[in-house]
Amino acid sequence: MKKVLVLVLLVIVGYFLTDTFNLIPFGENRIGNPQDEQTVAGYYLNNTVEKTSVANTVTAIVVNYRGFDTLGEVTVLFLATTGLGSILFRRKEDEEEIERINKPSSSLMQTGSRVLFPLIALLGIYVFIHGHLTPGGGFQGGAIIATGFLLMLISYKNFKAGHTMLNWVESLAGITFVSIGLWGLLTGGTFLENVLPAGELNNLISGGVIPIIYIAVGFKVAAELTGVLDILLNIKPKK
């Protein structure tokens, strides 16, 4: 009976969604001619290079035009880690009783991940350092680094993610982000304003504060995701 009701509901939702998106043709040019600057997207495409010297428009939007969203997003991640810590809180004496859920893995896996880990970390760092030039950025790079840590966590049962280090990285990265914002507020008049010179397009050092913020975001995301993985993996009570 319940299944029938749910199926009816699914049909209704499906019909509603198809009906709605039929009115929004796929692949249609909705931003108009960017040179007209009629829409927000057109403005971004037309002015990003000139005003921020950032090649990747998406990065310019994420870090500069809508940087406030990104700050909120980083905060959401931070709060998720904090919330996880409070939900899965253990008293000090229970802390010893907990171990990682995975079984010890083969030496093939262990050697493989030891070789791969630095390369993955390097790729992640590359992705977030070049966030303003190529596809990618802080979130993507941070996620890549976190997968490297995940590989280490599941292949070595004794691998410790280093809580002190994670705490330092996530706090310092967050402080950097907000401090750059406050620096903009003090010198430029608005929060998160790009106060550094924009530099030349497609140079590594260009875009003013944008790469600095994205690198901080990269470190922060890597630390938060690793922290989340570490908390979620260490849940099995020792016998």
């Binding site: 319940k2 299944k3 749910v6 509901l9 699914l10 939702v13 499906g14 969604l17 198809t18 998106f21 929004i24 043709p25 796929f26 692949g27 249609e28 040019n29 909705r30 931003i31 001619n33 960017p34 040179q35 927000v40 997207a41 495409l45 037309n46 990003t48 290079v49 090649a55 990747n56 428009t57 998406v58 939007i61 994420v62 809508r66 969203d69 990104t70 909120g72 997003e73 959401v76 991640l77 709060l79 998720a80 880690t81 919330g83 996880l84 939900i87 899965l88 030039l133 190529t134 596809p135 950025g137 979130f139 397009l201 497609n202 995301v221 995701l225 989340v228 908390i231 979620l232 849940i235």
Partner: protein, 126 residues
Amino acid sequence: MQNFEQYNSIITTGVYGSAIALILIGLYAVLIKKHLIKIVIGLSIIDAGVHLLFVAIGYIKGGTAPIFSPGNEDAVNKMVDPVPQALVLTAIVIGFAVTAVALSLVIRLYKHHNTARIDQIKSLKW
């Protein structure tokens, strides 16, 4: 040319269709499944569908990535809409955070009741 039109309509149905299908599959999992982990997976699938839809609405026929890398500087008129891409990045991260919190709640529930099946957890009305 007609071939192209036909091809395009297949793509349209494919992208929108798969996104909507993902939303429906996720919804089905959330509403029917009794296992908490499966419910969380269902939520993630719904999120994935919505994110796919979000990226899809920014696509412009024949457009390139909105990146002014060398050789691509003059492509302003051919670039796809960058805003949905930026927004979906935010939405994905938020989805991740919610999933993480949901999983930790599942762990708590499992420890507390020794089961992760929703029909066996009866302390609160569902």
